[in-house]
Symmetry: C2
Amino acid sequence: MGKAKYTIGIDFGTESGRAVLVDVATGEEVATAVHRYVDGVIDETLPGSDVPLPPDWALQNPEDYLAVVEVTIPAVLRQAGVSPEDVIGVGTDFTACTMLPTKADGTPLCALPEYRSNPHAWVKLWKHHAAQPEADAINRIARERGEPWLQRYGGKISSEWFFPKVWQILDEAPEIYEAADRLIEAADWIVWQLTGNEVRNWCTAGYKAIWHKRTGFPDRSYFRALDPRLEDVIDRKMSRQIWPLGAKAGGLTPQWAERTGLKPGTAVCVGNVDAHVSVPAATVVTPGRMVMIMGTSICHMVLGTEERIVEGMCGVVEDGIIPGFQGFEAGQSGVGDIFAWFVEHAVPPVYHEEAAARDVGLHELLEEKASRLRPGEHGLLALDWWNGNRSVLVDADLTGMLLGATLATRAEDIYRALIEATAFGTRVIIEAFTSSGVAVDEIVACGGLPERNRLLMQIYADVTGREFRVARSTQAGALGSAMHAAVAAGPEAGGYSSIVEAAAHMAHLTDKVYRPIPENQRVYDRLYAEYVRLYNYFGRGENNVMKVLKRIKAEARGEA
Amino acid sequence: MGKAKYTIGIDFGTESGRAVLVDVATGEEVATAVHRYVDGVIDETLPGSDVPLPPDWALQNPEDYLAVVEVTIPAVLRQAGVSPEDVIGVGTDFTACTMLPTKADGTPLCALPEYRSNPHAWVKLWKHHAAQPEADAINRIARERGEPWLQRYGGKISSEWFFPKVWQILDEAPEIYEAADRLIEAADWIVWQLTGNEVRNWCTAGYKAIWHKRTGFPDRSYFRALDPRLEDVIDRKMSRQIWPLGAKAGGLTPQWAERTGLKPGTAVCVGNVDAHVSVPAATVVTPGRMVMIMGTSICHMVLGTEERIVEGMCGVVEDGIIPGFQGFEAGQSGVGDIFAWFVEHAVPPVYHEEAAARDVGLHELLEEKASRLRPGEHGLLALDWWNGNRSVLVDADLTGMLLGATLATRAEDIYRALIEATAFGTRVIIEAFTSSGVAVDEIVACGGLPERNRLLMQIYADVTGREFRVARSTQAGALGSAMHAAVAAGPEAGGYSSIVEAAAHMAHLTDKVYRPIPENQRVYDRLYAEYVRLYNYFGRGENNVMKVLKRIKAEARGEA
């Protein structure tokens, strides 16, 4: 065996970027560095301006992404004491769809003085929600035309995705649309910066830009139906050449070699997405094992051998996660953020005081108290729609419900009921997959929640009737990118020939297994039946009270 | 005009008794005294014992009632500086059904050494809930036999009422049942003590003991069907002679004259019930004006000219409130206690800190914040069943629900939604009355809530579309008893010939009128339609999830 080789994975998140330097042979995470974006999420005013942005806007400054590379790569090299010669590749993953308009050479329009004061010149972050009118029209026209691709996205294109954002630029700032030689995912833009090559990846193209490996993008006639000026958007501002995941986009440019301390020509992998790159990092490269990235929300990723239409999924993309497989994605729009809401807004002082006195977190205290309850003992049932419902109902206007409260109900009862409700929501998603022929035999969890809340993991196992394993890495995105970097470097450089091979060496699970407890399962099966009934009653149009309340609320606020 | 005359009203509550000395000509409340029961609510162990009571038991010590008389009457006389000659009558009202077994001379069995250690020898307080099995059998057998009186009680006899409690004594302590020469409401027992006369009143007999002015008690054959030993319960241990409200039960005995400082022979009125006696104290002596006694729960009292069957009412009793009228009673089992639950168990520290810093109560702070919301603005809807539902569903197994929550929901939003839910619950009751031909044109509120929460009163006016007025007295029970005392004394002694006449002089409203605001009404009409739909869906058997959850909860606790 020769000397140890390393790759660097960089995970571009919402607030910061994180680099991890990984031993290619073992997956050991040798060094980690995080850099917060200076401008963060831009949702009030543009940097250097005091003109307020409209509601629902969320922008970023691409300079922040470059700063992450420039700061974190030298930092991990320094920490690890690793020689640049032994770093064989760099991989990146990004939030998505996070996109920007650039000139033909990749210069972001927002970096040019003449466009800098126009908000549409900046990066539209994934959670920019101001393109809803465009998304609505995109969906309506697709339904009217019977576009075949719509069902691959659970019947609905999200306002967060690529074409709603593009169309919003055209609608509201045609001069920016005109000035943009390229419209590109930040995932691909960062790779372009590092390599000088504009290469676009299968993952964001497939999940966010309605691209399909065999049939490509939607027809020109469809884009023309949206707006005649959009007819040529693919050919004029994007590309029909999409690159497979794990491919080498190019070598690191001399300029970036200098700025990072790496060698020029170091292999740089094509772009990828945080959730998707976590799948092999959680050891999953074959069908039947679902990866759940559990944090503020949950992404559910599972592989299949055939394209299946699954109700309310976010998307199915061939080769979109692991080459050779259909990659299915579904999601719950509110999980950890519901628990955070509860802890911040609905827990009385006596709990805060006890937590402070015992020097434990409030989540921890509530978990401890909730752990003492037997399933069903609190008498509560909730619908976990505080942030709407993504899968399987694809309806942002649904809202949260709690039922069963009495004068004896206490905070830990509600906390547990909220955890259970999100577990029931996951079970609905799993059943949507399995009933469509996509197997989900076992779960691997990663993200922030699994390590923090064991009660939650046990409840998920009990509710779904599946064993839950936990990925060893607590930074699965960055590790997954480092694994893809090893594939881009290739075996001749000391890397791997495929992500499957990389996963076999670099991805690991913890020893902990959460197994369903039959006695709990029996109770949860009964509660789940009640959950499903309410889910259907409130979620499928039989009683639209949640929408009526939202309408009345909007009217009361003068918004409707 | 002669010298001013006075009466004393004594209101026997759950934790204490309250006497008020009132100017008969004006209703002016000249002096008030409160005495807390030493043994209070006995729900853990009997006084002087450490044998624990079973769950759901609630007893009292009749000595505490006597102490109230002995302490408070001298206190109000002293405070007011009024001569006993000028006190023309004493009236009392009680919680009900609060009952006890006694010997033939009125001695409570619990006062006798041989019975003192038997819990069944003590007073069973209104909220003693351990006779549910007996209540269930009473209802089942009544339904099977098609007993005509059942519909006068909303189709269900409560476990709190007289015969379930009597039957529980027989079931569990036949020796106490046998030793009891008399079984009697505390409302009548206290009058017996003061006068030496065992007289029973129309109100408790009618509302709690299934008595009807024209048809009397249920048939002997019905009691035999319950238990052969109960066949003669009325004739052996009760009385078929029931006295009208406002009648003079007798004169104060020399012993009690001595103990109180009043003159022997001072008129003592027959017993009455706290909620019912509040009606004339709230100026209401004619149909069309509903009195709402608003506190922990709400009692809705309204007069009618004909007996009507109203869904889910607590009862209709001819002459049961005001002679000459049908007295209708309905109720909401949870109102102020839901707000109290919320404030204690679901409001985060920042509100507590703000309230403390500004030296206001938490209810006050939440009311202030909730007042800034327009109707419908919070987007929430609740079912106010934290303590079950009394009218109109008569179902203790229903539970609370909150719907419409988002990550932006705050405590004042929920607080307001809970107030609104209780107002919607009142509207359902009002509509049950009006649709059965019992007019409810206007409301008079009394009790603890109206003076404390103006937002609540305005919401009730907006939701019900009725003007709300507020009784001037904050101790309507005691004032009502003093008014009845003036009737018992009669015009020849300086009192009145009827409660109608007494009310014309002694009962008053404040100037405050809460009028429905048409703009708010329009929004609340829409929200009410949604409330009613959920009320029926969850409350009338279409979806029994609340009962399923209660069953699972009982199983989880090993109670089922």
